[in-house]
């Protein structure tokens, strides 16, 4: 049936993208100069030790064999062993991913909540002084290097004023029984605020500008004019009709933004010593820890790809024109 074919082709496409990313990754890391053994060079480092390590990580096999093993392992959800940590990469990533996701989502939710409201407000106040001044200001926030903003916030609110801790996710020595326990604690919240604010300040521009321009577009639509001719109150016109319609693409952009944010986290996590996937990736790359870097990269790519798909789906679900086709 054609519909199965179409769904199948969408999934096939997803699989293709995944496979391509995985392969590009493999090649990039394997062809990368620099030797993973570099980390062990020490006056007591012997040839025998070297060979044992190479064998342990399968680096002594030809490239194509390594590739097949790598693909095979991936299919079984095996990401391999980290060179440095001598620990399964998957395990390490799973412990770090929640931190990254919490940071990403909390900052994006703040950014979107603010951006949507402010965007709608600016659209409503079109042509006013506030709007004239706000747009360049918003653009400027998007022009700031995130790490620079992070450092400035750190310098002000942590080092100078001492309001918030400078990094990490918890007070030293604080013990929590699990993620949930940690994430719901005040302690965690106070650590989350600065990095989340940095990311939020940077990312609010997108929903804000999008919401605003959508609102302006929608306000020109016939159905908004009709709503006014119907004698509906201003509030009903603006909120129920204009904002509701303008919101659609903004919501779908959220999924895409998650993907983007995740990539950008790399920098902010480094500034705020946030134990997340991004920072791990940077460390792993710097240390030629292929399996770990590969795993972290793959995880980020996976989220990006899934979020792209989710954006499609979200659009299909939220827009009755598609969902009720």
């Amino acid at each position: 049936m054609t519909n199965f074919k179409a769904v199948g082709s969408r999934l096939l496409q997803l699989a293709l993208v995944l496979w391509a990313v995985v392969t590009i990754l493999f090649l990039m890391f394997r062809l990368m100069p620099g030797n993973p053994m570099a980390a062990y060079i020490d006056p007591t480092f012997t040839l025998e030790q070297q060979q044992q390590l190479m064998a342990q990580f399968g680096l002594d096999k030809p490239l194509w064999q390594q590739y097949l093993i790598y693909l095979g392992n991936l299919l079984q959800g095996e990401l391999g062993q980290s060179f440095r940590y001598r620990e399964p990469v998957g395990e390490r990533i799973w412990t770090l991913l929640p931190n990254t996701l919490v940071l990403t989502f909390s900052s994006l939710i703040i950014a979107y909540a603010f951006g949507i409201l402010a965007g709608a407000y600016l659209a409503w106040r079109r042509g006013s002084f506030i709007e004239q001044a706000a747009i360049p200001a918003v653009l400027t926030t998007r022009a700031m290097p995130e790490f620079w903003l992070g450092m400035v916030l750190l310098a002000i609110f942590s080092f100078s004023l001492g309001w918030f801790p400078a990094g990490g996710t918890r007070a030293p020595g604080a013990e929590y029984s699990g993620f949930l326990d940690l994430y719901t604690s005040r302690d965690f919240l106070s650590h989350l605020i600065l990095p989340a604010a940095t990311l939020a300040i940077y990312s609010q521009g997108l929903p804000l500008l999008l919401m605003r321009s959508n609102m302006l577009d929608v306000m020109k639509e016939d159905f908004v004019t009709m709503a006014r001719i119907k004698g509906l109150s201003n509030w009903t016109v603006v909120v129920r009709h204009a904002a509701r319609n303008a919101l659609l693409p903004v919501m779908t952009s959220f999924a895409i933004a998650v993907g983007y944010q995740l990539q950008g986290n790399v920098v902010v996590e480094s500034v705020f010593s946030w134990p997340g996937l991004g920072r791990e990736l940077v460390n792993a790359v710097a240390a030629s820890d292929y399996p770990l870097a590969q795993g972290a990269f793959l995880m980020i790519a996976l989220v990006v790809i899934l979020m792209n798909l989710l954006a499609d789906l979200l659009y299909a679900v939220l827009d009755p024109r598609v969902s009720h086709a």
């Binding site: 054609t2 519909n3 179409a6 969408r10 499609d312 086709a325």
Partner: protein, 329 residues
């Protein structure tokens, strides 16, 4: 007309032509929506040299698609179309170039059909350039073509941009472009529907006039029977990609046979306050090209549909001098 007598009488021959579009993405498919639109679905007719044929039908019935097939702007997904004895599917490369100068299209929307960045001169030069007409001759031919479509003082338009012309003038330029290479065959796709009523008549008159003077074979596409009647002696009525009725325009206007044609004729409003207000002999609803009914595609709206209509596709049958695709005949 009848400039050359040796050539065969039929210029265009369409046999069981089909054009199926693949539409809708994965999401439509997930909901079990059919993904094929049969814009043209098994259409057969011939056009003789010098004949003007009106292609009539509701929006979405496949008129434009048919026109595009005839000009090889789209390749058939089934059946065949012969132009002057040559199968269009086989026409390629330099022969395509030749074909392009023999068969031309007059566009529906003049505001869209001319590149806004091009002057009228540049617009009209393009086909000449492609046909390898030397630069020195071009200017002359451009002016002649503009005179042909009755644009007074053509020179004053040459260096203007499209937005500096009125709709009526632009549509004449579009016609001039179509005619500048002296084609034998012209497809006019609703050439006046975008124009204001007051200037439509002028463009139609030019079309009629030029066609007669050059002895063109023409297809005139429209959903307005009154307009078709004004320019064509023969009319083909289409519905959901199929031919319903094919015959002389006067016959069709006077005495429509197919139930669909009947409704079509009855529905045309006339600028006369005393016209009848009889209810239309047709059911409500609109054709859905994605899910046409089985058998006769018109049966769900047909007042005289019967059991056979659901099971059997009516083939066009000669009724008098006409062809009608209906089980009633």
């Amino acid at each position: 007309m009848n400039i050359v007598t040796k050539k065969p009488e039929v210029l265009v021959s369409v046999h069981e032509a089909r054009l199926h579009y693949q539409v809708g993405g994965a999401f439509a498919a997930m909901r079990g929506k059919s993904t094929v639109v049969k814009a043209v679905d098994g259409v057969t007719f011939d056009i003789r040299r010098g004949e003007s044929v009106g292609l009539l039908g509701e929006s979405g019935c496949g008129k434009t698609s048919m026109g595009r097939l005839l000009l090889k702007l789209e390749d058939t997904t089934g059946g065949s179309i012969h132009f002057d004895g040559e199968e269009l599917g086989e026409v390629r490369r330099h022969r395509l170039k030749k074909f392009r100068s023999r068969a031309q299209l007059i566009f529906q929307n003049p505001f869209d059909a001319i590149n806004p960045r091009f002057t009228i001169r540049a617009t009209l030069s393009e086909p000449l350039e492609n046909a390898g007409i030397p630069r020195s001759e071009r200017e002359d031919r451009i002016v002649k073509a503009l005179e042909l479509v009755r644009l007074p003082e053509p020179e004053q338009f040459l260096d203007r941009y499209p937005h500096q012309l009125s709709g009526g003038q632009l549509q004449r330029v579009v016609m001039a472009r179509a005619l500048i290479l002296q084609p034998e065959f012209v497809v006019a796709d609703e050439p006046v529907s975008m124009l204001d009523v007051s200037v439509r008549a002028g463009v139609l008159n030019v079309f009629r006039d030029v066609r007669d003077r050059l002895g063109l074979t023409a297809i005139y596409i429209s959903h307005d029977l009154a307009l078709v009647r004004y320019v064509c002696e023969r009319t083909i009525v289409m519905y959901l990609g199929r031919i319903m009725e094919d015959g002389s325009t006067e016959d069709i206007v006077r005495e429509p046979l197919h139930p669909y044609t009947k409704a079509l004729v009855a529905a045309v409003p006339v600028p006369n306050p005393d016209q009848s207000h009889d209810p239309l002999p047709i059911g409500r609803g609109a054709p859905d090209p994605r899910n046409p009914p089985s058998g006769c595609v018109f049966r769900d709206r047909c007042p005289s549909a019967h059991a056979r209509c659901a099971s059997e596709v009516p083939e066009p049958r000669p009724v008098g001098s006409r062809l009608v695709a209906c089980h009633l005949f």
